[in-house]
């Protein structure tokens, strides 16, 4: 555990100096600043920001995580010739990436918010929810990226799979489920629909924010399961739990494979 913290310490020093990460920070900084400046209404800003968070964060986490892992190939060899456990190194590297991406994102959105936004209880809560979702998605998709990199020795292939993974969860998944729903219109679909959203971390994060942002619309749905889910803390708890599971699952799988991998 102590060694993990040491690895994170030095890795963060490395990653936080990387120009990609600085670009990522600037992206959120400029975007959020621009939104607060020109979109006017604060709730409007949060809606726009939510769209970006749900799309860009998984994409960048996927790509950056994969590239980082491949580029660290020799460094991994070097580190593992030291008295360091594989699990320690893997965990340390992943946390470094996830933390540094999260930090960039948080600074990028928070600074303009504090400068230009109207900080009040209502909107602080939604903002915090958005920030938390962004962090969870960063952890999820960077751990997925590591898993992809561990299972594919070929860089180009791994990179491609990473992109497809993003495309699948960001767009294709919802399309498939939506068309399935429309075709099975006559059946009770609430429970399957809820399960489906839990099977996609981007959807879970989206629902988590919807619970705050669009509760007026969600409460308009007649189904008892939805009402129960959206009407109280249960929905929030289930969504958060599923997101945490989504972090743990690829991470543990990747770690297990990494332990047995020939480097």
């Amino acid at each position: 555990m102590e060694t993990i913290l040491k690895i994170i310490k030095y890795q963060l020093r490395d990653v936080l100096r990387s120009k990609w990460l600085i670009a990522y920070l600037l992206f959120f900084l400029l975007l959020t600043y621009g939104l607060f400046r020109f979109a006017g209404d604060d709730s409007r800003v949060i809606i726009s920001l939510m769209n970006v968070v749900l799309i860009i964060i998984p994409l960048v986490s996927c790509i950056y995580g994969t590239i980082y892992f491949y580029n660290s190939k020799e460094f991994i060899l070097f580190m593992l010739s030291q008295p360091i456990e594989r699990s320690t190194l893997y965990t340390g590297m992943w946390l470094s990436i996830a933390i540094s991406l999260s930090v960039s994102f948080i600074i990028g959105i928070t600074v303009p918010y504090l400068l230009l936004g109207q900080v009040n209880v209502q909107n602080l809560y939604t903002f915090a929810l958005l920030a938390a979702s962004g962090i969870l998605l960063t952890f999820i998709f960077s751990s997925a990226a590591f898993l992809v990199a561990v299972t594919n020795s070929d860089k180009a292939r791994g990179f491609g799979i990473s992109l497809l993974l993003w495309l699948f969860y960001a767009v294709v998944f919802d399309g498939i489920i939506l068309f399935t729903m429309i075709s099975f219109n006559d059946y009770p679909l609430e429970t399957p629909a809820l399960i489906a959203t839990l099977l996609n971390p981007i959807d879970s994060a989206r629902v988590l924010i919807l619970l705050k942002l669009d509760i007026s619309a969600l409460m308009g749905y007649t189904g008892a399961v939805f009402q129960k889910f959206f009407g109280n803390m249960l929905g929030i708890l289930i969504a958060i739990f599923s997101l945490i599971l989504w972090i743990a699952l690829p991470f543990v799988t990747g770690l297990k494979l990494f332990k047995g991998k020939d480097l």
């Binding site: 769209n51 429309i182 219109n185 629909a193 989206r206 669009d214 619309a217 409460m219 308009g220 007649t222």
Partner: protein, 415 residues
């Protein structure tokens, strides 16, 4: 003209009442007074007398007022109907009840038991009373030229059937309902067959069914009220010539809940209202020639749901901001007009700088049509896939109504 007439009537009755006071006497009720009960004072009173009731607890309900007297509380006297009877039953004209707390009128499934009941009278004033835990609060039946003002009415029954309305009007005319607060009743304010009613600056909230339930009441006017967190919002139905202005419809949530329901309303006006965080902001069914303008629709699930049997309504200069859906409908055909509204979802441009977008806006999303058919699809709100679908549909409309467009949407929000 109408208002002038109203003022005239009011002045006239006011004079009449004053004349009466010249010969009137004051009677006091309470500990240490000649009369210990209101009933005994009423027996001794004549038309035009004032009965002052001192602070204390009175369990003599029901009290039947059959003389034109004023009953005025001093230091908050409490009348308790002990969950059996009614509070005050007014059967004479020119009665005032003021500054009294009335509580626990009995629940009945046969009879509408009320804290204050007015039957077939006129020129009465019910003001500054506190009504707690009553079945019905203030009940007016065949009443005219009267006012209900500044009362605080609160009940806490959880079942609709065990709960009556806060202020209930039936078959009355020329009534002013002003500055009351009503909480926790079945309907906050109930209007049926009322003519020339005015509902102003009331707060009606957390009522089990409607904040305002309004039917067959032509030429009425309501303004500056707040309707908040009511079970089903506000329903205005089967009426002509209603004016609804400067009201606040807020936080009315539920599967059958709207800020404002317009059902078979015609030739009416809805302007200057704020619809905020309702499941449906404004729901229009079978309503015709209603002008809806200068309203703010903020953060509603559906800002407007417009059924195809609504015709010739005009929406103009409204602000639509932060709603999950701007407009939903149930048909491809449409005969309503949207013009010069501000839509935060509008992505057009304004080359000639006249403040209006050069390309029309289609407020009905394909996704809202999908949700109408497959309600479960609601769970994909704000998903990238759905946004992509909407963009495609806006480019090549095929399912959404072609005629439902705002030809000249505002570029900036109307202030």
């Amino acid at each position: 003209m109408l208002t002038a007439l109203k003022i005239f009537f009011f002045c006239f009755f006011f004079l009449f009442a004053n004349l009466n006071y010249v010969f009137a006497k004051d009677i006091f009720v309470g500990k240490g007074e000649k009369h210990l009960t209101a009933a005994s004072a009423l027996k001794a009173a004549e038309d035009g007398d004032r009965i002052f009731i001192k602070g204390g607890y009175y369990s003599e309900c029901p009290i039947i007022i059959d003389k034109s007297v004023s009953i005025i509380g001093i230091d908050n006297p409490v009348f308790d109907a002990l969950s059996k009877d009614e509070g005050f039953i007014i059967r004479a004209d020119n009665v005032t009840i003021k500054g009294i707390t009335i509580q626990n009128s009995g629940i009945s499934y046969i009879e509408d038991k009320a804290a204050v009941k007015l039957e077939s009278v006129s020129n009465c004033v019910i003001e500054e009373n506190i009504l707690l835990n009553n079945f019905f609060g203030i009940y007016l039946s065949k009443v005219s030229n009267s006012a209900v003002k500044k009362n605080r009415i609160k009940a806490s029954n959880l079942k609709e059937t065990a709960s009556g309305n806060g202020i209930h009007l039936w078959n009355s005319n020329n009534i002013i309902i002003e500055n009351n607060s009503i909480e926790g009743h079945r309907d906050g304010i109930y209007f049926e067959f009322v003519k020339k009613g005015e509902i102003k600056s009331n707060i009606s909230y957390k009522n089990l069914r409607y904040g305002l339930h309004f039917m067959f009441s032509d030429s009425c006017y309501y303004a500056g009220n707040t309707f908040k967190e009511n079970g089903a919002g506000v329903a205005v139905m089967y009426t002509k010539k209603v004016t609804m202005t400067d009201n606040l419809f807020v936080d009315n949530w539920g599967s059958a809940s709207y800020g404002l329901l317009l059902k078979e309303i015609s030739d009416s006006e809805v302007y200057g209202n704020k619809f905020t965080r309702n499941t449906i902001g404004l729901y229009s069914e079978g309503s015709n020639r209603v002008k809806i303008y200068r309203n703010d629709f903020n953060q509603n699930g559906w800002a407007v749901r417009l059924m195809a049997n609504s015709v010739d309504n005009v929406f103009s200069k409204n602000n639509f901001i932060g709603n999950s859906f701007d407009v939903a409908t149930n048909s491809q055909q449409h005969y309503n007009k949207f013009i010069n509204n501000y839509w935060d979802n509008y992505k057009g441009y304004d080359l000639n700088k006249d403040g209006k977008g050069d390309i029309p806006f289609r407020p009905v999303r394909l996704y809202s049509m999908i949700v109408a058919n497959t309600p479960t699809a609601l769970i994909f709100l704000r998903s990238l896939f759905v946004d992509v679908l909407d963009v495609a549909e806006r480019a090549l409309p095929s399912i959404t109504p072609k005629t439902l467009t705002d030809e000249a949407p505002l570029m900036r929000k109307r202030l």
